[in-house]
C-alpha cells in the first residue's frame, strides 16, 4: 500500500495531468458558449470529412462494378452506331427508302489474363458461352480512339481465349482509310507496338501517317475502326505488294475492357460463300 502511494506520488503526475486536462477541456466546452459553438462546429467538420473519406473509399471499391455497368452501357450504345447497322437502302426511281437492320451487337468483357511478349500472344476474357460468345468473333478495344484486340479462339462456359493481334496466326483484312486499298494485318514477333499490313497492291499510294482501319471485307469487325498509323513501308524484292509497318493505335499492354463483336449476318455470308464455292 505504501509503495503504491509512493509510486503514485512519483509517477502519477502524468496520469493526473491528462485526467485534469480532459476535465478542463470538458468544462471549457460545456460551460462556455463561444468554445461550445466552435467545438460543435469543428466536430461537424471533422465528422463530415471522415464520412466523406469513407464514401470515397467505398466508391473506390465499387469502381470495378461501376466500370462494368458503364462498359455494358457502352456496348449497348455502340450497337446503335451507324457502322453496326446493315443498310437495307434500295434506290428505286428517286425515292430513297432508308432502312437499317442490326448487323453488329457488342458484348463487353474484361481482360483477366494477357501476354504481349511471347511469339504468339493471347488474352483471356471473363465472358464465355453463357454470355453469347462463340469462336471467331472479333474483339475490339474499349479505347474511344479505336483499336482492335484480336479474335476469339476458344470458349468455355464463363471465359474465352482471344488470339491477340500480336499472334503470328493473325490475318485480318484491313485498309488504308484515305484510298481504301486493302491488305492484311499480320504480326512479326518483334515489337508489341508495331503491326504490319501486308499484301497492299503495288500501285497503292501510301503516305506516312495514313490511318489503317478495319475494312468492309472482314466479317469479324465493323468497318472503319482505326487500327494503326503508317510508319514505314517497303516493297519486297520480286514482290508485287507493299508491306507497311504501322504503329498500333492502342497499347495492348494495358487494355482492360474490350468488346466482343457479334456479327448477326456472319452465318448468312458464310453460307452463301460456301454455296458459291461448292458449285
Amino acid at each position: 500500500m505504501r509503495s503504491l502511494v509512493l509510486f503514485l506520488v512519483q509517477y502519477g503526475g502524468v496520469g493526473l495531468f491528462f485526467v485534469l486536462e480532459a476535465v478542463c477541456l470538458y468544462l471549457v466546452v460545456n460551460y462556455n458558449q463561444q468554445q461550445k459553438d466552435i467545438w460543435l462546429n469543428s466536430s461537424n467538420i471533422i465528422s463530415g470529412s471522415i464520412l466523406n473519406f469513407r464514401s470515397d473509399i467505398s466508391q473506390y471499391y465499387n469502381l470495378s462494378e461501376f466500370a462494368d455497368s458503364l462498359a455494358a452501357d457502352n456496348a449497348r450504345l455502340k450497337a446503335r452506331l451507324n457502322n453496326a447497322q446493315f443498310v437495307q437502302t434500295i434506290l428505286m426511281d428517286s425515292i430513297q427508302d432508308v432502312e437499317r437492320e442490326q448487323q453488329y451487337t457488342y458484348i463487353s468483357a474484361r481482360i483477366v489474363n494477357s501476354t504481349i511478349h511471347l511469339h504468339n500472344n493471347t488474352f483471356t476474357i471473363d465472358r464465355g458461352r453463357k454470355h453469347g460468345i462463340r469462336p471467331h468473333m472479333g474483339v475490339i478495344d474499349s479505347n474511344p480512339g479505336g483499336g482492335i484486340v484480336g479474335i476469339v479462339t476458344n470458349v468455355s462456359e464463363n471465359y474465352s481465349v482471344v488470339m491477340a493481334l500480336l499472334h503470328q496466326g493473325i490475318k485480318i483484312p484491313a485498309a488504308l482509310r484515305r484510298n481504301k486499298y486493302h491488305g492484311f494485318l499480320s504480326w512479326q514477333p518483334s515489337n508489341p507496338k508495331i503491326i504490319n499490313l501486308i499484301d497492299v497492291p503495288k500501285h497503292a499510294e501510301i503516305r506516312r501517317k495514313d490511318t489503317i482501319e478495319t475494312s468492309t471485307y472482314s466479317a469479324l469487325f465493323p468497318a472503319g475502326i482505326p487500327v494503326g498509323i503508317v510508319d514505314t513501308f517497303w516493297q519486297d524484292q520480286g514482290s508485287n505488294f507493299h508491306t507497311i509497318s504501322a504503329n498500333l493505335i492502342n497499347d495492348l499492354g494495358n487494355v482492360q475492357y474490350v468488346y466482343v463483336v457479334n456479327n448477326l449476318m456472319k452465318g448468312e455470308v458464310e453460307k452463301l460463300e460456301e454455296e458459291a464455292s461448292g458449285e
Binding site: 503526475g13 495531468f17 485534469l20 486536462e21 476535465v23 468544462l27 462556455n32 463561444q34 467545438w39 469543428s42
Partner: protein
C-alpha cells in the same frame, strides 16, 4: 500542518483575491476586445517548493485555476492553462538546475537562486501558461494571429508584475 503549508495557503487566497479584485478589472477593452490579461495567480504554482511531487503541483494548479475560473466566468480555461504549466514546471526546473543541484527544502525564488535564474524560470513557465490560456479561450487555430498577439502582450505584462512581486515581497519560500 507546518508553517510552510500555512504560508502557501495564505498566498493562495491572497493571490486569488488580487487576481479577481484588482487584475480582473485592468484591461484595455476596445470594442469588447481585450488585448491582454494579467496573470498574477500563477506565482502560487511558481513558488511551490522544488521537491513538491508533480502530482501535487498539478492538483494545486487545477485548484487555483478552477477557483479563478469561477470568478472569471470561464470554467475550465484558467484551470486548463494552470494544469498544463504546473505539469511542465518540473521539466523547466530540471533544465535550469544549477550545477550543485537544488537544496532539499528550497523554493525556486529570487532570494534563493538569484534574479537571473528566477527570470528564466518564470518566463518559460508564463509563456506556456499564457499560450495555453489563449489557445483555450479563443479555441480555434483559425485566429492564430489573435492567440499570438494576446499571448505576447499578456506575457510581457504578467512577467512585469511577477518580477515586481519578487522585489516587493522577496519571498524566501
Amino acid at each position: 500542518m507546518n508553517s510552510s503549508t500555512i504560508k502557501h495557503g495564505i498566498r493562495f487566497v491572497l493571490l486569488v483575491l488580487a487576481q479577481i479584485l484588482i487584475f480582473k478589472s485592468i484591461d484595455l477593452d476596445t470594442n469588447g476586445f481585450s488585448y491582454f490579461t494579467i496573470f498574477i495567480y500563477p506565482i502560487f504554482i511558481l513558488l511551490l517548493p522544488i521537491r513538491t511531487p508533480t502530482v501535487f503541483v498539478v492538483l494545486m494548479g487545477f485548484l487555483i485555476g478552477l477557483t479563478v475560473d469561477v470568478f472569471y466566468d470561464s470554467l475550465g480555461v484558467h484551470a486548463g492553462a494552470s494544469v498544463f504549466s504546473a505539469f511542465i514546471r518540473s521539466a523547466i526546473l530540471n533544465v535550469l538546475e544549477p550545477r550543485g543541484g537544488y537544496e532539499v527544502n528550497a523554493s525556486p525564488t529570487k532570494s534563493s537562486y538569484g534574479i537571473n535564474f528566477f527570470f528564466r524560470y518564470a518566463a518559460t513557465f508564463m509563456f506556456f501558461h499564457t499560450l495555453v490560456y489563449f489557445s483555450l479561450e479563443i479555441f480555434t487555430p483559425v485566429y492564430f494571429n489573435e492567440i499570438f498577439i494576446r499571448t505576447v502582450f499578456s506575457f510581457i505584462l504578467s512577467m512585469l508584475f511577477i518580477i515586481v512581486f519578487q522585489y516587493l515581497f522577496n519571498p524566501k519560500e
